[in-house]
């Protein structure tokens, strides 16, 4: 897979930096909300195909999956994969009623998805001088996805790993942009680079 299919090296560098900055803002906001230091990885930028996205869902340990679509100059979907491990502790830190049943874990997953996706995207669109609206997140089961129904061939994946200090917890947030939105993104990056 050619990672540089739809954006060039300069654009990629710029996007990387924008993501770094978004992450910093997101981590700072998160730390304020849950009073736990957030450890962020450097965002990974790659191109994927429907098959590639499918393999992304394979996880050894129990995970929760949620997704959230966004609309605006660019549109796409944010998918978050959240480990079951650590959810209880995180729920406690976020003052969820204890003990947590399956329903409140679901609520936590949705809230985390909204916070993580919102924080990542907000930083990104603010820097790009773009605007977008996030729809409500929903839970989903990757096994039940018919990937043959995807109407795209290539998508840009922006993958961010979140971990927490002192709590064994991990989550991945992937921002997927389709071909049309990638073109819009490339244009915005060019404006910034000029």
């Amino acid at each position: 897979m050619n990672n540089h299919l739809l954006i060039n090296e300069l654009q990629r560098d710029a996007l990387q930096e924008i993501m770094n900055i978004s992450m910093g803002q997101a981590a700072n906001a998160l730390a304020q909300l849950i009073n736990i230091r957030v450890i962020l990885s450097i965002p990974k930028i790659s191109m994927t195909t429907p098959d590639g996205l499918q393999s992304f869902y394979h996880a050894a340990s129990p995970h929760h999956f949620a997704r959230q679509s966004f609309l605006g100059d660019m549109h796409g979907e944010v998918i978050s994969v959240i480990s079951d491990e650590g959810c209880k502790e995180l729920g406690e830190a976020m003052s969820y009623d204890q003990p947590m049943d399956a329903n409140s874990v679901n609520e936590l997953v949705l809230e985390l998805t909204n916070i993580l996706a919102g924080a990542c995207l907000k930083g990104m669109v603010d820097q790009l001088g773009s605007r977008l609206h996030l729809a409500a997140p929903s839970l989903f089961e990757p096994e039940q996805q018919l990937h043959s129904s995807y109407n795209w061939h290539h998508a840009l994946l922006l993958e961010i790993l979140f971990a927490l200090e002192h709590i064994s917890f991990s989550s991945r947030v992937v921002i997927c942009l389709d071909e049309a939105s990638i073109a819009v993104l490339a244009g915005k990056l060019n404006e910034m680079l000029d």
Partner: protein, 444 residues
């Protein structure tokens, strides 16, 4: 009407709840949706803390509002996870069908001119109708799932029953074969036995005759004749032959008698399906059952009988009762971990006969006691027990208006107690007739 007035009017009448709070979570505005349902007009609540107005959800609201102020992004809540955020009066005030409103809530930031967020807007959507459809659907799905599982159980049972049927057909075929063989053997064995009896009679006469002749020869004063006899007796080992003959015949008679007994049992058991009512001796039924399953029992347990003297005949279905005895005896034998003891008590009083079959086997686990008479209940490995034996026994005893009970101590043994009322032929006929009438009317 100017634009602002227009928008205010529209928002106040929206069919969704709209509520605006400031960064201290104090109320700036709510529309009629809130005011009407809570019967708290805007003027009464302006400036009040939202968290104090809804103390039950204060923790939740605070967390959500905080995240919107900090992240400057919308936040959501769904009826699936949190059905009721705001405690409203019934959303169905007339029909009272739903006492709580299921809600989706969306909280989003309102940016001021400095691009900062000092207020957020809370919108509430009534999801009650969707939720009730959804719940109905979920219930229906669960019901279907449960029914599907029940059907699967039923299918398994049917399969078992089918296997049982095959097995019983096989048994019936073997039974018929046995009856045929028994019939064929019965005649020759009969004449072998009676011929042997005649032969025994003749032989004793011939032996006497030989004895007489021998004595006569001894009395004749002719040494050559004596020598000749002695030589003959010696050569043919006649002393041994003559002594052996009665033993041989006795043994043969004994053998023939045993063959006849087995043939008789086989003939009786080839009628095992017979539901004929007759006056019968219970103990002879038990004995013929014991003969048939002798092979199953002899290495497993010693059988001890306590039969009451002068036992009266019982008007019953003898072959059906034999089936019950066989089931209980075979179970008893299979319950033995090592060589044990099976005791059979038969007693009676004016009203009833009581048969107890007690074994020294491993006993029945307490959790299984209630279920042992259920059809298809078995603790034996798959394929070794149909789980029908005891339920069949139960049905047979009920048909005799009797009862079958069990007492068991794990590790000590089990005792089955069968009580059979002593009914006259007339009583039985009346009971059977009313049973037949009931089944025709579809009561059974």
């Amino acid at each position: 009407m100017d634009r602002q007035q227009l928008f205010e009017d529209v928002v106040s009448q929206l069919a969704i709840g709209v509520c605006i709070v400031d960064s201290g979570y104090n109320l700036v505005y709510w529309n009629n949706f809130f005011a009407d349902r809570l019967q708290m007009p805007m003027a009464d609540v302006e400036g009040k803390s939202l968290l104090e107005l809804f103390p039950d959800q204060a923790t939740f609201l605070k967390r959500k509002l905080q995240s919107v102020f900090v992240l400057k992004n919308a936040s959501f809540s769904y009826w699936e996870q949190r059905p009721v955020v705001f405690q409203f009066k019934s959303s169905r005030p007339i029909t009272g069908e739903e006492c709580q409103m299921y809600q989706n809530v969306e909280i989003y930031p309102i940016f001021n001119t400095d691009n900062a967020v000092d207020r957020v807007c809370i919108t509430v959507y009534d999801m009650t109708v969707t939720a009730s459809y959804h719940q109905q659907l979920t219930r229906l799905t669960q019901q279907l799932e449960a029914e599907k599982q029940q059907q699967q159980v039923l299918i398994n049972k049917l399969e078992e029953a089918h296997n049982q049927l095959l097995q019983s057909e096989k048994m019936a075929a073997i039974g018929q074969l046995a009856a045929g063989v028994a019939h064929e053997i019965n005649n020759p064995v009969g004449f072998i036995f009676s011929n042997l009896q005649s032969l025994q009679d003749y032989l004793s006469r011939m032996l006497k005759y030989v004895d007489l002749l021998s004595k006569i020869v001894d009395k004749v004063p002719q040494p050559t004749l004596h020598q000749l006899k002695a030589d003959y007796v010696q050569r043919n080992q006649l002393a041994m032959v003559l002594a052996d003959c009665p033993d041989l015949l006795n043994e043969s008679l004994d053998g023939a008698e045993r063959v006849m007994a087995i043939v008789k049992s086989l003939k009786e058991f080839s009628h095992v399906d017979s539901k004929e009512w007759s006056a019968a001796d219970i103990t002879s039924g038990i004995e013929s059952t014991l003969r048939v399953i002798n092979n199953e029992l002899k290495y497993k347990a010693e059988v001890v009988r306590h039969y009451a003297a002068d036992l009266p005949a019982l008007y019953c279905q003898p072959m059906q009762l034999n089936q019950v005895f066989m089931n209980l005896l075979v179970n008893a034998a299979q319950a033995m971990d090592s060589f044990g003891r099976i005791e059979i008590d038969v007693a009676f009083d004016e009203q009833k006969m009581v048969v107890k079959i007690r074994d020294s086997g491993k006993g029945i686990a307490p959790e299984h006691m209630k279920r042992i008479f259920e059809p298809f209940f078995t603790t034996k490995p798959v394929g070794q027990g149909t789980g029908l034996g005891l339920s069949l026994s139960y049905t047979i005893i009920r048909r005799h208006k009797g009862s079958i009970n069990v007492e068991s101590t794990p590790g000590v043994g089990t005792c089955f107690i069968i009580e059979l009322p002593r009914r006259s032929e007339l009583e039985v006929q009346q009971d059977e007739a009313s049973l037949a009438a009931a089944s025709q009317h579809g009561v059974l």
